[in-house]
Amino acid sequence: MQIIKDLVELNGVSGSEEQVANYIKQKISDYTDEVYTDALGNLIAFKKGKSSNVNIMLSAHMDEVGFIVTGYTDTGLIKFRNVGGVDERILPGKTVLVGDNKIPGVISAKAIHLQERDEFSSNWKMKNLFIDIGSEKKDEAEKLAPLGEYICFNSSYQELGTECVKAKALDDRVGCAILVEALKGTYEFNLYACFTVQEELGLRGAEVAAFRVKPDIGIVFEGTTCSDVPETEKHQHSTRLGKGAVLTVIDRTAYSDRILVNYIYNLAKAKNIPVQFKETATGGNDAGKIQRTGKGVKVAVISVPCRYIHSPVSLMSKKDYESSKNLALLILENLSSNLDNMDKILKGVEVNV
């Protein structure tokens, strides 16, 4: 879990993923044949296959949702906008870190005593909130936190209960951690591990990374929604915490390849790795872009369920992370030692495992 802790405590709002990229680069340098950063900031690690020319692309995004400085009040408070999807209702009373110097700040929350009746019964809008870093003057705030400075949730990694982790940015540092582990193996096929940027803005990084890599198979590793909580109907439970790695059949951006997904599911079952299907068609991820790259790519998505995703207090089960990681390693190992399985997948023939 140390790698997860390290990764979630780095700040990498979409557009400022450098810290995360640098950390990963240093972790993987011993295991790769080539590592490069492309024009958008994607970190692409290449590992030459021993015998096969098939390209497998693993993808996980480095960016996280956050905020950006857009202005100031005369009294030195900071105005801000979100980068990526954040539920603005959760903002009042949270703490943040501003810029590379990690200047601490709090998001304003009007005291209950001061709210008019209609204010009390309406949700706060981001445009009426601000960040207080303790600065009393506009020019001081401007100097400390210039326009365009990125702002992150301030939330430390914390283990909850016996098997859970609370943190920000589990979406998608869990995926990054799995890719780092995958790079430690040696494979018959060409492996591209793509640590992408700007997924939260609309899958920007993956689009160009996939174009460069030209994969035959793309597997995306993600943190995904988990709504197995009170106040929801059972049919709304997209995934279930603690019930294993999540396979997506369809979401808003991609159709997973049916044969590839069946193969992964059967493999997990055969090796007793807990696995579940995502039972809603909501959300989307880099698979959407990878699937439609070039002549088209067979894709699958493996995710770790994260409750309260896109908030400072995302919650995941360590068991689900282990299941997803083990499943990733199992797939790569199985494809590498059974190249005919890969052949079948590429030809669209059902694989028996």
Binding site: T75, L77, D87, R89, I90, P92, G93, K94, T95, I103, P104, G105, V106, I107, S108, A109, K110, A111, I112, H113, L114, Q115, F120, S121, S122, N123, W124, N128, F130, D132, I133, G134, S135, E136, E140, L144, N154, S155, Q158, L160, G161, T162, E163, C164, K166, T225, S227, V229, P230, E231, T232, Q236, T282, G283, R307, Y308, P312, V313, L315, S317
Partner: protein
């Protein structure tokens, strides 16, 4: 004295109204460094007495030490915890908040609600209700039941953030900052002469019924009461006259509840001693213990010092540390000089 660090220590412990026993012993240790006697009365008020030279003449300085919080109401079949509030809390600030449940041991949790992507058009417009929120501890029912019971209290997780220009943000600064101001005053009083006995009282249950102040002022029966609490710090969308400015010193309250003569004296001393201060107009109840001390027994002349605090009753209450220091200084100067004023005046209190 490192006041920022003192504030950090005082807010990292939790004493939700009615559950102050969790920290009363810790607070009495601060008093013991300075006071002649320290006791915790049967309501939980922590009382430190610093003796003066005049027998039977008493000043009381009160600062409540309870904080707002939550209370475990029920535990569902999956181990999610439902709760109610203690003191005034806006449910809107609870979404995605981090809390500590004081069960058999301290259990961390996060507050969840129906996920945003599942809200229908009507629900999106409405604010979340307390009864629709829950705490997720990451534990299953069996583990939750092992550690947590109905009636356990819950506090916000302290954030202890040092901001620029001497600002500090965390939970429960309302009203541990006033306790810190009392400690600053006690430190100052080492070097100041005071004729009267000064009772420093950290009171309980202000956030619910002013209970601590009612009982302590009745029992001690002082000649003068100095109440120390917080008032709202400036925010852009709050009318200027409803708030005070952080960093400009204690807000001396004026209004019907506060004794005019002693309040004027406070202002005079602040001016003379070059202590930053501002005036906080309180046309009615003040929202503080002054409401209770004023009408204790035959009536106690009461003054009120408020420390400006932004984002009150949230996990990120924010203040300027210099205001705490100046409040402490003003308490000490006032307490040591007011004794002269009061000498021989029989109307100061019931006999």
């Amino acid at each position: 004295m490192d006041v920022k660090n003192l504030l950090k220590e005082l807010t990292e412990i939790s004493g939700v109204s009615g559950y102050e026993y969790n920290i009363s012993e810790a607070l009495s240790r601060y008093f013991r460094k300075y006071c002649d006697t320290v006791e915790i009365d049967k309501f939980g008020n922590v009382i430190g007495l610093k003796k003066g030279v005049e027998p039977e003449k008493k000043i009381i300085v009160t600062a409540h030490y309870d904080e707002i919080g939550l209370l475990v109401k029920s535990i569902d079949e999956n181990g999610f915890i439902r709760f109610t509030n203690i003191g005034g809390i806006d449910p809107k600030i609870l979404l995605a908040a981090e809390v500590i449940i004081y069960g058999k041991t301290e259990i961390s949790g996060v507050i969840g609600a129906k996920p945003p992507h599942l809200l229908d058009a009507d629900e999106v417009k409405k604010t979340v209700k307390l009864q629709n929120l829950y705490i997720d501890t990451g534990m299953d029912l069996k583990k939750v039941k092992e550690y947590i019971s109905i009636g356990d209290y819950i506090s916000f997780k302290p954030v202890s953030l040092e901001l620029k220009s001497d600002y500090f943000a965390t939970k429960a600064l309302d009203n541990r900052c006033s306790f810190a101001a009392m400690i600053v005053a006690l430190e100052e009083l080492k070097r100041l002469k005071h004729d009267y006995d000064i009772y420093f009282v950290a009171t309980v249950q202000e956030e619910v019924h002013l209970t601590g102040a009612i009982t302590a002022s009745y029992n001690i029966n002082p000649h003068i009461a100095i109440v120390v609490d917080v008032c709202h710090g400036d925010m852009p969308d709050v009318p200027k006259e409803r708030s005070s400015t952080c960093g400009k010193g204690p807000a001396i309250a004026v209004g019907p509840v506060l004794n005019k003569q002693h309040t004027n004296k406070l202002v005079e001393i602040a001016k003379k001693e070059n202590i930053n201060y501002q005036i906080d107009v309180e046309p009615g109840g003040t929202g503080t213990e002054a409401w209770a001390t004023q009408v204790s027994r035959c009536g106690i002349p009461t003054v009120l010092l408020n420390i400006p605090l932004k984002y009150m009753h949230t996990p990120v209450e924010t203040l300027n540390v210099t205001d705490v220091v100046n409040t402490g200084k003003l308490i000490a100067r006032f307490a040591s000089s007011v004794s002269e004023e009061c000498k021989g005046k029989e109307d100061c209190s019931c006999k």
